[in-house]
Symmetry: C2
DNA sequence: AAGTTTTCTTTACGCGCGTCAAAATAATAT
DNA sequence: ATATTATTTTGACGCGCGTAAAGAAAACTT
């Protein structure tokens, strides 16, 4: 930097100022720097820069599971938003393990991130770890909520979306049963169950909930084996099944196919299956999956901009914000 | 560190030595440090540490597209291998864009990584950028090769895998046609075409290759629209189609379903479809997809250990290594 | 026990940059 | 043209650690 200061004709402290914020120096000097920058391609040493700053321009992006295309897509949106705002996103996947989530936060700590965008596991997350971390670093949650923690939460209004699809299913055929896991990892699943009950009540139909065992992130497999078993045994009270998420639905579609049950909304079909999330693969299932599309982009951008606001003003939010976006019905062939 | 040296009764330089490599100090002092470590939870400042080292213990892991579950799974394996070996993986996705790949390498440069594990785009990658980067940092390629560049390449033997599935298909029914994209981004696709031609020749059958237009990473969509068109027009010369990868096959299965064509290897079926890669979703398609399983774990671990060897010895490989693992046939219901 | 080897302590410098205070300069206002 | 304000320069210190040299201490050898 010393050398670059020499050749650019600008003093080192001013250069330092420039690299921290180009707008903070006079136009004429900015031009000089940028001219020299073209000839000598100097770049400040990341480590030296960050050593002296109390906080960096890094943003931690922590996702529960990158192997799930849902998260990798929303992660991409978030990453992009960080880049656009001049921050450096650091992507971390917790690989389906809440312990890894805590470890990721701990690892982030030493990178002194300016803020963190966290899609937590929810109920399974270690509340204390998240709480402790968010004391030191501003955290905005998205996708899954952890009640009362962190600066803000951005997600989808499950009551709106579930009502949307329940209403559609009731209107177009038999009222739906709900198919879900017995002990959902995800708070959204619980919201959706409540929403289902509420919505069925409003429409004057009896609710039927089918909960199956299964652990971990193998939703498709659970949907296929357990959902298939229920189908085989003829346990569902109606011919319409609303799955708590698309991955369960994908598994159940697979099971139905193997059992020779025709799924769809046309005359020859014996079963309707619907999902939730508009998973990237849901348009390629056989038949294609009727589902609810969450507004990935809106959620990601709002979460990011909420965080950037906190960072810009330099002060935490006085009251915790919760923003819920509406989803939309995606009508395909399975229901 | 000064303070921690005081309370632990160890001099600061020795502490520094300990943190660089705990094995490098005497057992008794190691115990003292670790005892003190429990009471005072001191951790060296990452940035200060890396500022002084010419190279860090960071490993860049660059993948072409995290939205593809194939890559996210192999990425996970690689990450794990790095962690186990005591390195810090830094995951980067190029989001389907070769330009982003170059940008990722450029961004990695300032993090002074000890080495990089790169799954390149292949033909579309910017050879010069990769070449220039690998001059400064040891790079091991995996999944897709870039001829002659970097220290080593680890992947799958497409000639073995394609021959395996071609042989199976020929033996169990009509010989397969090959379905692929016109201008594949990926060198593996080209290898597979060659392998298909070779294998068909060996088995004494006529080869039929169907190449379709389409750009980008929407393989499923291309498989469905273009593959569906070919199916609809009855263009395939045999009733067996080998898709260049699973994602194309998934799209084509979807198309076949929509056209009312029954896919499978039993009597009532009119079409057989096979894929390549054992994509995480291939077991949940309708019907489930017969395909080739690559040995993700072996590839990831070999790529990682090759890199670690280079880092440990401190010297580049004299001759570029190419390691190809064999894949295995996964017989399911689609063929 | 004396000599040898290994490991540790002391002391000191430097990495590349952020940042502060005082002085110098440039831009703007009167 | 002079006073005022905004910006830059000079000079200097410190961040937290790696690392080198020389001497002290501990461990091992025979």
């Amino acid at each position: 930097m010393e050398e670059f200061a020499a050749v650019s004709g600008i003093s080192r402290p001013t250069l330092s100022k420039y690299f921290n914020d180009p707008e903070s120096v006079r136009q004429s000097t900015r031009d000089k720097v940028e001219l020299a920058l073209k000839q000598y391609d100097y770049r400040p040493n990341v480590f030296a820069v960050n050593q002296n700053r109390r906080t960096t321009r890094n943003i931690g992006v922590v996702l529960p599971n990158l192997s799930d295309p849902f998260f990798s897509e929303i992660g991409r949106e978030v990453e992009l938003a960080c880049l656009t705002a001049g921050y450096s996103p650091i992507l971390m996947s917790s690989h389906g393990s809440p312990e890894q989530e805590s470890r990721n936060l701990e690892a982030l700590r030493s990178l002194k991130p300016a803020g963190v965008l966290l899609a937590p596991f929810g109920r399974v997350s270690d509340r204390r770890d998240i709480e402790r971390f968010s004391k030191d670093v501003p955290v905005v949650l998205f996708d899954a909520n952890v009640e009362g923690l962190c600066e803000a939460f951005v997600g989808t209004d499950n009551f709106q979306t579930v009502d949307l699809i329940v209403e559609y299913l009731c209107r177009s055929g038999q009222p739906p049963c709900l198919f879900e896991m017995k002990s959902p990892l995800n708070p959204n699943a619980n919201k959706r169950r409540q929403a289902y009950l509420e919505s069925m009540g409003q429409h004057g139909f009896e609710a039927h909930i089918y909960q199956v065992d299964g652990e971990g992130w193998g939703f498709e497999e659970i949907g296929r084996s357990e959902g298939g078993r229920l189908l085989y045994e003829g346990r569902f009270k109606t011919d319409t099944i609303l799955c708590s998420n698309d991955r369960l639905a994908i598994g159940m579609l697979s099971a139905a196919y193997n059992l020779g049950i025709r799924v769809g909304h046309d005359d020859g079909a014996a079963l309707r299956i619907a999902g939730h999330d508009d998973h990237p693969f849901s348009r390629f299932t056989s038949p294609s999956l009727t589902t609810i599309a969450q507004d990935y982009a809106a959620i990601a951008n709002r979460a990011a901009s909420t965080l950037f606001n906190i960072l810009d003003t330099g002060e935490r939010l006085k009251t915790r914000e919760e923003t819920l976006f509406e989803g939309s019905l995606v009508m395909r062939n399975s229901a």
